[in-house]
Every structure is written in structure tokens, then in C-alpha cells.
């Protein structure tokens, strides 16, 4: 059996790998000239945090997200399962209590246990929430690993594939009765009309003086920020959420807010070297939940919003299941938003 996957972001590559692992010959078409060019996965935080995400996301995100904690370590050895830490500054401790009320599988830490877990945060917070079962990864290294695994399994990725290439390849694939899985993100708006873009802005900084072993979320009523260690003293600081589908440059305000939050977490961030400022646009449906849909014989996996690396494994499994044995998964395939939320 053969399959065509459109898009080499995290949704496309996880689908491709899932299919290849099940013996399908997969070809991925990517419009970018190299891995990560023009896809929002490249700018992701890479947190595998199904319980933390429950603070603002529907239960479905946590349910699907659970699968990521086993899927990634089996395919990308760089996956770290060291939990995540949630802190708030003194006057925002109300936010911490609210976060606790809306999530589960955490422990309350006092100052001593915070220091034991993250020595560089010693003395900076008197309380924190610790989600011991969560993980994180470097999205770019993870995409690389998936591309490598796909190639090893006999799959191919064609870069710089234009709209015409895609049309030709998918047409001949469909004529031959092969599956086509569309993971083009926001580009798929030509078919998925209710997709919208939510812009995100992020930074990568280098700061050898501070050592954090796990993602730290700093709660704030207006500007919640997370910092994810990327190894070698590199940190990703993210991410804003702006209702906009233009991947324009970062605004001064967003930059100030992101850096201000990092500086407030630890003043040493004032000395950090800024390696990169990135912006991407996440594809989202109106209910901010992912969707696998079959339209005109083609399968669409889209709407991963800000949960790409968390949700992609579960969606890839379901998509692969769809390709190999058609069926209906109520939770991700129902077009009615209310039913999907209750599934």
C-alpha cells in the first residue's frame, strides 16, 4: 500500500512515520525547501504536558495528549520526562491556586523542594506546582529524528514541492486508489474554511549561567510565559497568542513581555544572548480542538493549535487507522463541536 502525506510539520511527519511503521510506502510533499521552513512546528515549545494544558484546554486535549508521553520516547531518544514546574510571583499566587483547581496529577512544592528540583530557582519562590509525569523535547531535533526514521523505513520527503506538484501527485495517487493525508496546516483553509490562524512569538536565548532541567511556566493574569530548556544552556521562551494569520515579525510589546517574564523568573536572563526571534501561525478550529476529517476521499489532520507535539501522535495513530481500516472516531471526526468536546 502507498500513501501521500502533504506537509512535513509535526502533524505530517507523525502521520508518515505511523503509516511507514505499519508497512505503508509513504511519500511526504513539503512546500518548504528544508525541514521546518515555513511550518509553525519549528517554533513550538515542545512541551508534552497533558495535565498542565488542562488549565485552559478541553479534556480531549489531555486524553489525546497522554499518548505523546509514550510515543515520543520510543522514536526520539532526546525526549525528556522530567516533569514540569509551574510558578507565580508573590502577588499572582491566586493564579497558582486557580491553576491547581483546574488541573490534576501535581504536587505542591515548598521553597525547599523547589530548590531541590531546580537549584538555580532556590529562594525565588515559596510555592510551586510540580507535574512529575510530564515531558519536553526539542521540536527541531524531534522533527529531524522523525524524518530520519521515515527514511530508514523506506519513506521519502520531497521538499520545495509547489502547489502544482502536489496537485499532480495527489491526483495520480487518488486515481491509483492510494491514500492522501493532508496536513498542510493553515494552507488547508482552501478546503477547511473554518480554520483560523493564531500567531505565536518566541525567543531562543543562550544563558550558560542558569541551569533548568524542565519547563517552567510563570503564571501571570495577562502574560503567562514558559521557558523550556533546550540543552547546552539554550532556552526557548514563549509564547504569545494573537488572533492573526500573518506571520509578521515580533512586536516590541511582545518582546518586552517575553523577556520581562524571563528576567522576573531569574535576573540572570538579563545577561542572556538572544539567538533567535521566531514567529509562526498555528492553525486552529473555532473550538481550538484538533480534527481528523474525510472530505472527498482525502483525509485531513489539522487544527492542532498550540498543542502540536502533544497531540500529533494520537492523531497520527487515528489517521493511520483510518487509512488502513476505515472507521469513525467520534472524538476527532465529529464535525459538531459540542459532541467532540463531550466525546
Amino acid at each position: 500500500m502507498r500513501a501521500i502525506v502533504l506537509g512535513a510539520g509535526v502533524a505530517g511527519l507523525t502521520c508518515a512515520v505511523e503509516l511507514a511503521e505499519r508497512g505503508v510506502a509513504v511519500e511526504v510533499l513539503e512546500r518548504g525547501e528544508r525541514l521546518g521552513a515555513g511550518c509553525c512546528s519549528w517554533y513550538a515549545g515542545g512541551m508534552l504536558a497533558p495535565w498542565c494544558e488542562r488549565e485552559s484546554a478541553e479534556p480531549l486535549v489531555a486524553t489525546l495528549g497522554l499518548e505523546s508521553l509514550a510515543w515520543w520516547p520510543a522514536r526520539f531518544p532526546g525526549t525528556r520526562l522530567r516533569g514540569s514546574l509551574v510558578v507565580a510571583h508573590g502577588r499572582d499566587t491566586g493564579e497558582l491556586r486557580q491553576f491547581a483547581r483546574r488541573t490534576e496529577r501535581y504536587e505542591w512544592l515548598d521553597a525547599g523542594r523547589i530548590a531541590a528540583l531546580e537549584p538555580d530557582l532556590a529562594g525565588r519562590f515559596s510555592q510551586a506546582l510540580y507535574f512529575p509525569e510530564e515531558g519536553h523535547l526539542d521540536p527541531r531535533a524531534a522533527l529531524d529524528a522523525l524524518a530520519g526514521r521515515l527514511t530508514a523505513l523506506g519513506g521519502t520527503i520531497r521538499f520545495a514541492a509547489g502547489a502544482n506538484d502536489c496537485r499532480e501527485v495527489t491526483l495520480s495517487a487518488e486515481t491509483a486508489g492510494n491514500a492522501v493525508i493532508d496536513c498542510r496546516g493553515l494552507e488547508a483553509r482552501d478546503v477547511l474554511h473554518d480554520l483560523r490562524g493564531v500567531k505565536g512569538e518566541m525567543l531562543v536565548v543562550e544563558l550558560p549561567d542558569v541551569s533548568l532541567s524542565r519547563p517552567v511556566r510563570v503564571l501571570h493574569p495577562r502574560v503567562p510565559v514558559y521557558i523550556v530548556p533546550r540543552g547546552d544552556g539554550h532556552y526557548m521562551i514563549g509564547a504569545t497568542m494573537i488572533e492573526s494569520d500573518q506571520p509578521t515579525r515580533i512586536t516590541a510589546r511582545s518582546l518586552l513581555e517575553l523577556l520581562g517574564a524571563a528576567y522576573a523568573l531569574h535576573p540572570a536572563f538579563g545577561e542572556a544572548q538572544i539567538l533567535e526571534i521566531g514567529t509562526g501561525v498555528r492553525p486552529a478550529f473555532p473550538d481550538n480542538l484538533p480534527r481528523v476529517s474525510r472530505i472527498g476521499g482525502r483525509l485531513y489532520v489539522n487544527g492542532l493549535y498550540r498543542h502540536g507535539f502533544l497531540l500529533a501522535p494520537a492523531l497520527a495513530r487515528q489517521a493511520a487507522g483510518q487509512v488502513l481500516a476505515a472507521g469513525h472516531c467520534l472524538e476527532v471526526m465529529n464535525a459538531d463541536s459540542r459532541q467532540r468536546r463531550l466525546a
Binding site: 485552559s56 495577562r222 488572533e243 473555532p286
Partner: protein, 257 residues
């Protein structure tokens, strides 16, 4: 019937559209609230080049009046520019005017507010100024051409309810005929009921609904509270007294002993 400029609204609850878990939940919350007007915060970024079309079309599809908001503007110029953007995106002359004076409390800069209100009223906008309970500021805003006032309950997002009852009552009494919407600081439905019981014409809620565990359920709760508060106001509440007054007459009771 609530009259705000040329609009007649049955519902006395206005809803903000920021910080919901998703646009779908926002849509359901607006339905559950029965609100007939919503505020929308504009960012320069999302308005330019129609970048925020996805979200704007969801707002338009709500089928209610849109009150664009100059949230987060710190200067007269910024607020005026944002008001223009709101008119362009939503095709309305309504604008909720916020000129923030201080970042910690998000307290309005009332001097900038009056100046921006004057500019916008002259340009034909129908201005809803977010102000404090200060009587003189209210007077200046009315002089500038505002025909609705939006006094705060307490700082934006604080959920502390009506912080200065004396001041709010004085404001209500001083301008009995000006429609007033209590905006900001309302945390729970009882705060909203209290504002409407005092004779305020409506309340505007955002964080208390959008950040509730179940925003749709909370929107419905606020709708009931506002309806109850208004019914109480119209029914004429009793005056509180210092001493107990038996509700059954004592005369005629048998003396035993």
C-alpha cells in the same frame, strides 16, 4: 428597555470577548448570557491588513452589536487610532474608550480620557468612556459629548466587585438620566446584581465569565443575576433599618403570664 445611543437592548448584560478557552465557547457563552452587545479589544496588529479576519468573522457571526474597545491604549493618539481601526473593521460608530494611566491597576487616565472623548465625539463616534466614579470627570465627559458613562466597579480583572459604593451611588444620583454601565472588577453574579439594584443601567463582564471553569454556565448565572437585580430595582427595595421590625403585628397577641 436599555437605551445606549440609538440602540435599544433588552439585555442589561454586556459581555467582553477576551480570553475565552476557544471561540466556540465564547459563542456559546454569548448565547447563554443573552447579551445583545459585546466588546472586542483591538490590537493594532490584528486589525492591519485584515490579519485577524478569522476571529473578526466569528465575532460578526454572533449577531449582536459590537462595541470595539481601545483596551491597553496609554495615550490619546493611540486610543484615537485604535477607535478608527474599530470603525473600519466592524463598521460601527460605537467605541468603548479606554485610556490607561497606570499599568499596575489599569486605572483610567481621566485627563487623556476626556481629551480623547472630545476628539472622537467631534468625529462622530458614539463614545462609551471607561472612567472612575469621579463626578467632575463624569461632567467633563458629558460636556465632551459622551451620552453613556462606564464607571468602574474596581480595577480591571480584579473581581473585587463594587469597591466604592458611596462614590458609585453619588455618581448615579448626580446624573440620573445618563445611561451608565458598570464596567470592570465584577467577579461574581451577586456583584452584578448589586450594581443593577443600585440603579445602574447595565453591567459589562469579561474576565469573570471567560476565566470561569465553565464560562457558558457562568454567563447564564450572570444573566439571571442582572435580571433579578433589575427587577428588584424596579420593584423598589425596602430601606434598611438598624432595629428589628416584626413582620407580624404584636397587637392582639395574647399575654400569657
Amino acid at each position: 428597555m436599555l437605551r445606549l445611543y440609538d440602540a435599544e437592548l433588552r439585555s442589561r448584560l454586556l459581555l467582553g470577548t477576551a480570553r475565552y478557552p476557544s471561540p466556540s465557547i465564547l459563542t456559546e457563552a454569548v448565547k447563554a448570557s443573552g447579551a445583545q452587545a459585546v466588546t472586542v479589544s483591538l490590537r493594532r496588529e490584528s486589525g492591519g491588513e485584515r490579519a485577524g479576519q478569522g476571529f473578526w468573522s466569528i465575532i460578526r457571526d454572533l449577531g449582536v452589536r459590537v462595541l470595539p474597545n481601545t483596551a491597553g491604549c496609554h495615550s490619546v493618539k493611540e486610543a484615537v487610532t485604535t477607535a478608527h481601526m474599530g470603525r473600519e473593521v466592524f463598521g460601527t460608530s460605537w467605541v468603548k474608550l479606554e485610556v490607561i494611566g497606570e499599568d499596575e491597576t489599569l486605572q483610567p487616565d481621566v485627563f487623556g480620557l476626556v481629551e480623547a472623548a472630545r476628539v472622537l465625539c467631534q468625529e462622530g463616534f458614539e463614545v462609551f468612556p471607561y472612567t472612575t466614579e469621579d463626578l467632575i470627570v463624569a461632567e467633563r465627559l458629558l460636556e465632551a459629548g459622551c451620552r453613556v458613562l462606564m464607571p468602574w466597579g474596581s480595577p480591571i480583572g480584579s473581581g473585587r466587585g463594587l469597591n466604592n459604593l458611596f462614590g458609585l451611588k453619588a455618581l448615579r444620583a448626580r446624573f440620573p438620566d445618563v445611561p451608565m454601565v458598570v464596567d470592570a472588577g465584577i467577579g461574581v453574579p451577586s456583584h452584578a446584581a448589586q450594581a443593577v439594584e443600585l440603579g445602574f443601567d447595565a453591567v459589562l463582564i469579561n474576565t469573570a465569565v471567560s476565566q470561569a471553569r465553565d464560562p457558558v454556565g457562568m454567563a447564564g448565572a450572570f444573566a439571571q443575576a442582572v435580571a433579578a437585580g433589575r427587577a428588584a430595582y424596579e420593584a423598589g427595595p425596602m430601606e434598611p433599618r438598624d432595629l428589628a421590625v416584626p413582620s407580624t403585628p404584636v397587637i392582639g397577641k395574647a399575654f400569657l403570664g
